[in-house]
């Protein structure tokens, strides 16, 4: 084991290297590119026994990833934002082949308008695909989740591809101290890839991805994927326990922070949850019973663990770094679905949309969200969803609009 100060992207690359990934179909996109550059550097230097091929698009990249996994090798790939969307057809196609591989997504907001900075609309667009989803908050978690993702995806009871998500910029380009285990340690936790029955080679013909005629046959195969994804919940618990035993770091499907005796908790995913933790500490110092509940595993959805973590709370501050147009926050809707009608669940789920396109969430805003939620609890009325946006930000926006209008008038003149 060595300890080094590395970026989230480097941590993802280390995850792939330590997992013994044999094949990396690649395509560059900001803010992910450093991952494939790092892997390419190791391969060129002879430090990693792996083949990296740059395809001409993410659609082809994901096709090659699925095809190679179906042929019997351990596959790793990485993308972000528009790339994830460009490959979306294959994101939905791959799980049905039941040939597992790991894909890292470095979250970045999607167009229009174009941005390089993060939010979660890209990764949440894949939520119904059949890919398992692990969401990271620290660079250490990125490395560890990549290893856990392989074990989970390749388990005989699961056999589905897995996606590990980290936020662009906030994690991808942020250096944190990371424990990098030795390959020999990892090999004890993650045995070599077992392709099971799907492995193209002469002598044992296989047909993959074939047509079915009839809704009942289709339903059967689709439901099988759903059941496999659900089984991943219990498998995750086993794998996480083994990981803790091997490496001493614990990753529950749902992380809880000072939430046991909390009246109000933050609910969110990703790197901004570390900001929420800081806010929890400050609020605790001020005598407020506040905590954090963060699902690491978003697919399968850890509904039971969430109900356990949230039972008896007065209110939940749900922070969505995504926006489902015409509906609101995706996490909020899913959480409401998991809690509704169950005994002892918090009566108030307050919805906040924030952190879109890398927009920061300030400490004061965390405090304010708790205040709004506490008031709602007292009044027994759930507040309408809110966008985190300050008067100053609106002023800045108006300034840009004024410039744009002035420029247009000048052009017309």
């Amino acid at each position: 084991m060595t300890r080094a100060l590395i970026t989230g992207n480097a941590a993802a690359a280390w995850g792939a290297r330590l997992a013994g990934a044999e094949y990396v179909p690649a395509f560059p996109i900001t803010p992910q590119t450093e991952i494939i550059e790092t892997l390419a550097g190791w391969i060129d230097a002879g430090e990693m026994d792996c083949r990296l091929v740059t395809l001409e698009s993410e659609h082809s990249m994901l096709t090659a990833a699925g095809a190679a996994a179906s042929t019997g090798v351990r596959v790793f790939s990485a993308t972000s934002s528009q790339g994830l969307l460009y490959g979306m057809e294959m994101i939905y196609a791959a799980p049905g082949n039941r040939a597992p591989f790991v894909l890292v997504n470095v979250s970045r907001g999607i167009q229009t308008p174009v941005t390089l900075e993060p939010d979660h609309n890209d990764v949440l667009a894949t939520r119904d695909s059949g890919f398992l989803q692990l969401h990271c908050a620290t660079c250490q978690e990125v490395l560890d989740s990549t290893l856990i993702a392989y074990r989970l995806a390749e388990d005989h009871r699961v056999r589905l591809p897995a996606l590990v998500n980290l936020d662009g910029f906030y994690l991808s380009f942020t250096r944190e101290p990371v424990d990098i285990p030795a390959r020999t340690e990892v090999e004890k936790f993650l045995p070599p890839f077992n392709p099971e029955t799907t492995r193209f080679h002469a002598g044992e013909p296989v047909s993959q991805g074939v047509v079915v005629l009839g809704g009942a046959y289709y339903s059967y195969f689709r439901y099988e994927q759903h059941l496999a994804a659900q089984r991943a919940l219990e498998v995750y618990a086993e794998v996480a326990a083994e990981f803790e035993q091997e490496f001493g770091r614990r990753y529950d499907a749902v992380e809880t922070y000072r939430s046991e005796d909390a009246e109000i908790v933050f609910f969110m995913i990703g790197s901004f949850s570390t900001k929420a933790k800081d806010a929890v500490d400050r609020l605790r110092e001020a005598g407020q019973a506040v905590g954090l509940v963060r699902p690491r595993l978003l697919r399968p959805y850890p509904a039971e663990a969430l109900r356990r973590a949230l039972a008896g709370k007065q209110g939940v501050v749900v922070i969505d770094q995504n926006l489902s147009m015409g509906m609101g926050g995706v996490l909020h809707g899913e959480l409401a679905g998991a809690l509704y009608g169950q005994p002892g669940m918090p009566p108030v789920l307050a919805s906040f949309i924030g952190g879109l396109g890398g927009r920061d969430i300030a400490a004061e805003e965390f405090y304010e969200m708790v205040e709004v939620t506490r008031k709602a609890c007292q009044e027994g009325v759930t507040p309408p969803p809110r966008l985190l946006y300050t008067a100053d930000e609106l002023r800045q926006m108006r300034k840009l609009q004024a410039v744009a209008h002035a420029e247009r008038r000048e052009d017309a003149a």
């Binding site: 091929v53 090659a64 699925g66 294959m90 193209f200 993959q208 047509v211």
Partner: protein, 311 residues
């Protein structure tokens, strides 16, 4: 030609009688594409994995049946060559590590229609050729999106009536030159074939099989439903495609294009066109002399160019 000496397919009687492709597929009666696939498969053999893109032939493998003795992977309409890349690379990785033995290796064959080969799949095709990928691309070219009811595709010939070009002039565009697009990438091999010239087809598949690198076979595939003719006419229409010079049989290798079957006296294109409902509007209610002359001129020009190069 020096390859005459090495080929085992000189006459019809030399063709394999193995018939590896199973019967009972859902292809239409008289499908010219299926004829080409079964002839090619007999020569490629069962140590193959077909990587398929969306099209008519996607319906060959319907759970739990397959007509193939070997393997099959359906990908998507745009990315069968990328699927071939993943399979080939994974086979090579395992061969290098001794996880599979050389006798377990497979020939990777992309099988798509013209919609994927001429259009949606060109980006991934170009990438595969540029990588020098060791694979065969077998395109059954029925000159339209036949599986969805023959809408015009980038392979539709000028003047043809399709489900999306129903006007008096037929399809206004011109068939894309996929052979030239491939040849411009300088791959190992490119050839045009048609199932109604089985010896020529067999020799080209044989040659492709023995080469390494990117190899393309384009099989013109007379399509009774899409081209609107009686299924029993498939063979005759295929022969006329060659006899009229509409479908030149040729191959590209080492930077050179060779015509493998030059029709000695080309029949007028009308003989080919008038037997197909998709060109009926060029003859009835009155002859569309302009379009007919344009099609004939295109063919004449092509062969004049060939003769000039050969002289």
């Amino acid at each position: 030609m020096k390859d005459e000496a090495i080929t085992v397919y000189k006459h019809m009687k030399d063709l394999p009688s193995s018939r590896l492709l199973g019967t009972g597929t859902p292809m239409c009666a008289g499908c010219g594409g299926l004829l080409a696939v079964h002839q090619a498969y007999d020569i490629l053999g069962e140590k193959t994995v077909f990587v398929n893109a969306a099209g008519c032939m996607t319906l060959l493998a319907v759970y739990p049946y397959t007509p193939f003795r070997g393997s099959w992977l359906y990908t998507a309409m745009a990315s069968a060559p990328a699927g071939a890349q993943g399979v080939r690379d994974a086979l090579d990785i395992q061969l290098a590590k001794g996880r599979i033995q050389p006798e377990e290796d497979l020939q990777v064959v992309v099988l798509t229609g013209d919609g994927a080969a001429y259009g949606m799949g060109l980006s991934s095709t170009s990438s595969a050729i540029e990588h020098g990928l060791d694979f065969i691309y077998l395109c059954y070219d029925n000159e339209g999106y036949a599986n969805t009811g023959q809408q015009s595709s980038p392979a539709t010939p000028h003047g043809a009536k399709t489900a999306t070009s129903t006007g008096a002039q037929g399809f206004g565009g011109h068939k894309k030159d996929l052979f030239a697009i491939w040849a411009a990438h300088r791959p190992a091999y490119v050839a045009t074939v048609i199932a109604t010239e089985p010896v020529d087809l067999a020799r080209k598949i044989e040659k492709a099989k023995n080469l390494k690198g990117p190899r393309l076979i384009i099989a013109l595939s007379p399509c009774p439903t899409g081209w609107d003719f009686d299924p029993q006419e498939t063979v005759e229409i295929g022969r006329l495609a060659v006899k009229t010079g509409m479908w030149p049989l040729k191959e590209y290798e080492n930077g050179r294009v060779t015509h493998t079957k030059v029709p000695p006296q080309r029949a007028p294109v009308e003989e080919y066109l008038e037997r197909q409902g998709r060109f009926a509007h060029l003859f009835k209610p009155e002859r569309n002399e302009a379009v007919l002359a344009e099609i004939q001129a295109g063919v004449d020009e092509y062969w004049a160019e060939v003769e000039k190069i050969n002289d």
